[in-house]
Point group: C2
C-alpha cells in the first residue's frame, strides 16, 4: 500500500497545478481540442513532461464510454490462418488507434461462452470473431446484448456483418484445376463436419465434380484438431488403407495437405507422381513444402481490413450498406499437381 502510494503517478490535477491552469485546460491540450493559447499550451506541455504525466486510459474510457479496445475471438491462434488474420487485424486496429484483446477459444467451447459474456460487459467496443464454432445462439446473444460484431470465416447470417473468401468458388477452382489436368478420382479432405467454411468448400468440390460429369465422390472428415496437420495426416492414412487410391486430393487447408504429404511419403508414394495434392489458404508453409503446394490463396490482409473497417463503422453507429462481403480467391499453381 505504502509502495503504491509512493509510486503514484501524476494526474491531470497535478499537471494543472504545476502549470497553474485548470484541469480542463490540460485536457484540451492533451486531446488537442478547444482553443488554447500557445503560451498556455507550452506551459502545460512543460508540466506534462516534468511530471512524466500520461493520460489514464481507464478514466478516459470511464467518461467517454468507449475503450478503444477490440476483441478478437479466434478458434485457435496457433493455426497459421488465424495468426495471419490476427496479425492483420492488429495492424489495422493499431492504425485506427484501437488495441486488440485476444480471446483464444481453443477446442474449449466453454471458453467461447465466457469470452462472449465478457465481451458484453463493455470492456471492448466491438468484437471480431474468427472461425469459431458457428452456432445460432452466438449471433442471437450478440444481437440481444447489442455488441458490435463482425464475423470472419463464420456462420453466414444476415443479422451480423460477415467477411470471408468465396469458399464455394475457391473449392470449385481447386477441383476444376485437378479435373482439367485429367484427374477423375479426386478425394476431398474436409476440415470439419460442422464448420460452415468446411461445408462450403465441400460444396464447391461437389459442384465442380458434378459440372464435369464425374460421379466419383469421396469426402473424408477430420475427427480431431480441426484444419490441422494431424487431421490431414489421419484422413490420408485412412485413404491409403482403402483399395482404390484416388489420383488427386483436395484438402481444405494447407496444413491438412502437408499432413497428407507425410502420410503419402510414409506409404512410399510421391507427390505429385503418385497422387496430386491441392491445398487451401496459401500460408507460407505451402510455398516451402516439398514439392511446393498448389493451393488457393485467401486474401487475408483484405479480409482483415474489411472486417476492421466494418466493425469501426458499427462502433461509430453507422449502418454499413454491404454487410456480407465475399472476397475472390486465387488459384496458385505450384508443383504438387500434375497432368495424368
Amino acid at each position: 500500500m505504502e509502495r503504491l502510494l509512493a509510486s503514484k503517478t501524476a494526474t491531470m490535477r497535478d499537471v494543472a497545478g504545476l502549470a497553474r491552469v485548470s484541469v480542463q485546460t490540460v485536457s484540451c491540450v492533451v486531446n488537442r481540442t478547444g482553443t488554447i493559447s500557445p503560451e498556455t499550451r507550452e506551459r502545460v506541455w512543460n508540466a506534462i513532461e516534468q511530471l512524466n504525466y500520461r493520460r489514464d486510459p481507464i478514466a478516459r474510457s470511464m467518461r467517454t464510454r468507449q475503450t478503444r479496445l477490440i476483441g478478437l475471438l479466434v478458434l485457435d491462434i496457433t493455426n497459421p490462418v488465424h495468426s495471419i488474420i490476427a496479425s492483420a487485424v492488429e495492424a489495422c486496429s493499431f492504425a485506427e488507434d484501437y488495441k486488440v484483446v485476444l480471446y483464444n477459444v481453443g477446442e474449449d467451447v466453454q471458453r467461447e461462452r465466457e469470452y462472449l459474456a465478457a465481451a458484453a460487459e463493455g470492456l471492448i467496443d466491438g468484437l471480431i470473431i474468427v472461425n469459431t464454432t458457428d452456432r445460432e445462439d452466438t449471433t442471437t446473444f450478440l444481437k440481444n446484448e447489442k455488441v458490435a460484431a463482425v464475423l470472419i470465416d463464420c456462420l453466414a447470417t444476415t443479422t451480423i456483418p460477415t467477411v470471408a473468401v468465396d469458399n464455394v468458388k475457391a473449392a470449385y477452382l481447386a477441383t476444376r484445376h485437378l479435373i482439367e489436368q485429367g484427374h477423375r478420382r479426386i478425394t476431398h479432405i474436409s476440415g470439419s463436419a460442422t464448420n460452415l467454411m468446411a461445408q462450403q468448400r465441400q460444396q464447391g468440390y461437389e459442384q465442380a465434380m458434378a459440372d464435369y460429369g464425374l460421379t466419383y465422390r469421396k469426402v473424408l472428415v477430420a475427427r480431431s484438431q480441426q484444419w490441422h496437420y494431424r487431421a490431414g495426416y489421419e484422413s490420408m492414412q485412412e485413404l491409403l488403407h482403402d483399395d482404390g487410391l484416388p489420383t488427386a486430393i483436395f484438402a481444405a487447408s494447407d496444413l491438412m495437405a502437408i499432413g497428407a504429404y507425410r502420410a503419402i511419403a510414409e506409404a512410399g508414394l510421391r507427390v505429385p507422381d503418385d497422387v496430386s495434392v491441392v491445398g487451401f489458404d496459401d500460408i507460407e508453409a505451402a510455398s516451402y513444402a516439398v514439392p511446393a503446394l498448389t493451393t488457393i490463396r485467401q486474401p487475408f490482409a483484405e479480409i482483415a481490413a474489411k472486417a476492421v473497417s466494418l466493425l469501426l463503422q458499427l462502433i461509430g453507429g453507422e449502418d454499413p450498406e454491404i454487410t456480407q462481403i465475399l472476397l475472390p480467391p486465387e488459384l496458385i499453381v505450384r508443383q504438387s499437381t500434375r497432368e495424368v
Copy 2:
C-alpha cells in the same frame, strides 16, 4: 446519441433501485464480499437477472486501479513459436481471470516503442515481452515507468524477470548429436545477428564444436525475416553455391530448417542422405516435415506458465525470489539426421 441512450444498459444503481437496497449491497452481492443475508442476496440476484445487469469492468478498474489486463508484446504472431506462446499465455491468464491484449510488433520497431508507451499508461497491469529486439533502453524504460514486466526469449537482464529455454545448452545438444553421428563439417544457420537468443544458440554450437576439437566453423546469418522459412532458405542457397557443402546443418529454428529443406531439394539433394539437418523449437511442422525433423524441443507451455506466474507475483507486489528462469531443452531425434 438518441440510439445510445435508448440502448443504455443497467447500472448498479438500477439494480439497487429495483431490489430496494443500496448500491454497495449490490456490489457486495456481485463481488461475493461482505455479509449479506440470503433473502437480500436473492432479491439482488433477481433484480440483476431481470435487468440483465453486468458489472462495468471499466468503472471497476477505475476504482480498483487494476484492469486485469496483461499486455503481450510479441515480435511476430505469425511465427508459430510466438503463437504457441501466445496461446499458452492466454490460457494461463484466462485461468487467473486476466485477459490478454495483443501487441504485435512485426518488423516495425516504431510499433514496439508506441506499445511500450501505451503499456506505461496503465491500461494493462503487466507486460510479457516475447523475443522483441533486445535493447537496453527497453528495460530501462520499463524500470523507470515501473511497469510490471516479464521477458520471454529476450535480453538477459538482472533487473527484469526472464524466462527462456537454456539456449546454449540446447544448441550444444543439437550440435553434439550431429558430432556423435560422425559429422565434422557442421554449419550453423543463425536466426539473427542481434537477437540474444540467436547469439546464445550460436554460442552453444561453437562450444560443442570446440569441445570435440573441431576447428570447422561456419555461421550464416539471416538477413531478412528473422527465424522464418525464407531466412533458412536463403542461407542454405548461399551455402549450396559455396564449394564445400557441409555434411550437416544446425538451423536456429524449425522454420529455417524447413526453408533449408526446400533449398536442398531444389539443388537435387536429399535430407538426410546428402546433408543432415537439425532444427530448433519442435513446432508441429517439424514432425510433419518429410523427412521428420530432428530438433530441440522447447517447453513452451512451461515457459508461458512461469512467465505468467512471475508476472502475477510482480503485479501483486511480491518480489519473486528466482527471476532468471532457464528451462531445460530436449533433443528430439527424428529422420533428418543420419550417421556418416
